[in-house]
């Protein structure tokens, strides 16, 4: 049996693919910023926050880390309307990605914070910085720099995970691939093309974020 591959049939639908890539990158960018901020907040609570709030954050982190992303997404999109909260596919996707990344980055950032030498905190205290100032100016920047590669990896995992968002009809890349294969029945080719694009996106995103971190976030600072 000869196998005929027809990539041209898929590539002529390039506007759909471009739109899909735009959505995938947009969802990833928004949830990366918000998710890492949420993670920093949770890491702060777990290391120095009021003790009554720590179990809540710990429960959130464990609950998210030990359930599949697709179930979190379905819960938001299909489950919440039963409680009267109706979210669009796009909002469900963003919220699910932020909540997911928040839990993982909380653990990553916490690991960075915990390796801060005690002497640096004492030095900050002796300069009469408040606890909040110490955290924001002394503890956090080097901690983020130490764990930046791990954060970048996690952001990419969330980007790849966003392929699932197509299942609730968010129009990202995997949705575009599904749409194309439903039009021309070239399923294998459509998914090969989409997979190759995802691979390029993850390589490019890693390079960009590593460069961005060194250039803008930690410029001239030595960890």
């Amino acid at each position: 049996m000869a196998i005929e591959l027809d990539f041209a049939a898929v590539l002529t639908e390039w506007p759909l693919l471009v739109k899909g890539v735009a959505w995938t990158l947009g969802l990833t960018a928004v949830s990366a910023v918000l998710g890492v901020l949420l993670g920093i907040g949770c890491a702060w609570v777990r290391t120095q926050g009021p003790s009554w709030s720590r179990p809540g954050v710990a429960a959130y982190v464990e609950l998210i880390r030990n359930t599949p992303f697709i179930v979190q997404l379905f819960f938001l999109f299909f489950g919440l309307p039963a409680m009267g909260v109706r979210l669009s596919p796009e909002w469900s996707s963003v919220i699910a990605m932020v909540i997911n990344l928040g839990a993982y980055s909380a653990e990553i950032v916490r690991a960075g914070i915990q390796t801060t030498p005690a002497g640096q905190i004492e030095a900050a205290m002796s300069l009469a910085l408040s606890r909040m100032q110490t955290f924001i100016h002394v503890v956090l920047p080097p901690a983020l720099q130490r764990v930046w590669p791990a954060l970048v990896s996690q952001i990419i995992i969330v980007m790849l995970g966003s392929a699932v968002c197509g299942q609730i009809s968010t129009e990202e890349l995997s949705f575009a691939a599904n749409l194309i294969q439903s039009r021309n029945f070239r399923a294998f080719e459509a998914f090969i093309v989409a997979t190759a694009i995802y691979l390029l996106l993850s390589i490019a995103t890693r390079a960009t974020l590593n460069w961005f971190g060194q250039r803008f976030l930690f410029g001239g600072r030595r960890g």
Binding site: E62, P68, F75, P81, A82, F191, Y198
Partner: protein, 216 residues
């Protein structure tokens, strides 16, 4: 209209959870075997073999598992193999796990000091013997905790098999939702069941990690 009690929902989900466990186990064991082969290929001194494994790992870690499942599902059908959601899911998850496990284990092997390799060589062990008697036993001790931790990822990964129609916990949740119109309750139960499977594994991985650090 038929009324569904909470127990109806939970008992049906529990039945489906068996398939989540079976699929996880197949992917984990199969991935371990393939991963071991990849690891050996990567530790040999053959440059092109090393690079081939590196590309393999990059491809599977740099693309969504969902796409890998679709490709397995449609690709195997294209090759003329009789595919079911079962085989496609098992194949895709096995390959996916093998890439991650090979990467994890490669890190463990790399952490073994060069002196150990040299000592093994000086005892006139050949490459296979060096790995088997000197390097792997030491690397395995370091590898246990992250490997168990990865099992959690595999269990969560099986949830995606629902998309290609494999009836495991998540798919059963969707089907039961369609019958009961109680998405909030059903998906809460699904999440709780995943948590009950994964959390003990996470805790076990963490305790292994602690144990190793104390020994060192």
């Amino acid at each position: 209209m038929v009324e569904f009690s909470l127990w109806d929902i939970v008992s049906n989900l529990l039945l489906a959870a068996r398939w989540t466990l079976v699929l996880s186990l197949i992917a984990f064991v199969g991935g371990g075997l393939v991963g071991l082969a990849l690891l050996v290929a990567r530790t040999t001194h053959n440059r092109s073999l090393q690079q081939a494994v590196a590309v393999y790992v990059q491809v599977f870690q740099g693309t969504p598992l969902l796409m890998q499942l679709f490709l397995a599902y449609f690709g195997m059908a294209m090759l003329g193999v009789e595919t079911s959601a079962w085989t496609a899911a098992a194949v895709a998850l096995t390959l996916y796990s093998s890439a991650f496990l090979a990467e994890i284990w490669h890190g463990c092997v790399k952490s073994i000091g060069k002196g150990q390799w040299e000592a093994a060589q000086s005892l006139a062990l050949n490459f296979g013997e060096q790995l088997r008697y000197v390097i792997f036993p030491q690397a395995a001790r370091i590898a246990v905790a992250p490997t168990v931790g990865f099992l959690v990822q595999v269990v969560k990964g099986t949830a995606l098999a629902s998309v290609i129609g494999f009836v495991e916990l998540t798919k059963a949740g969707t089907m039961i939702t369609n019958a009961t119109f109680k998405p909030f309750v059903v998906y809460s139960c699904v999440a709780v069941l995943y948590f009950l499977i994964c959390y003990p594994i996470s805790l076990y991985a963490r305790s292994l990690e602690g144990r190793f650090h104390v020994q060192r």
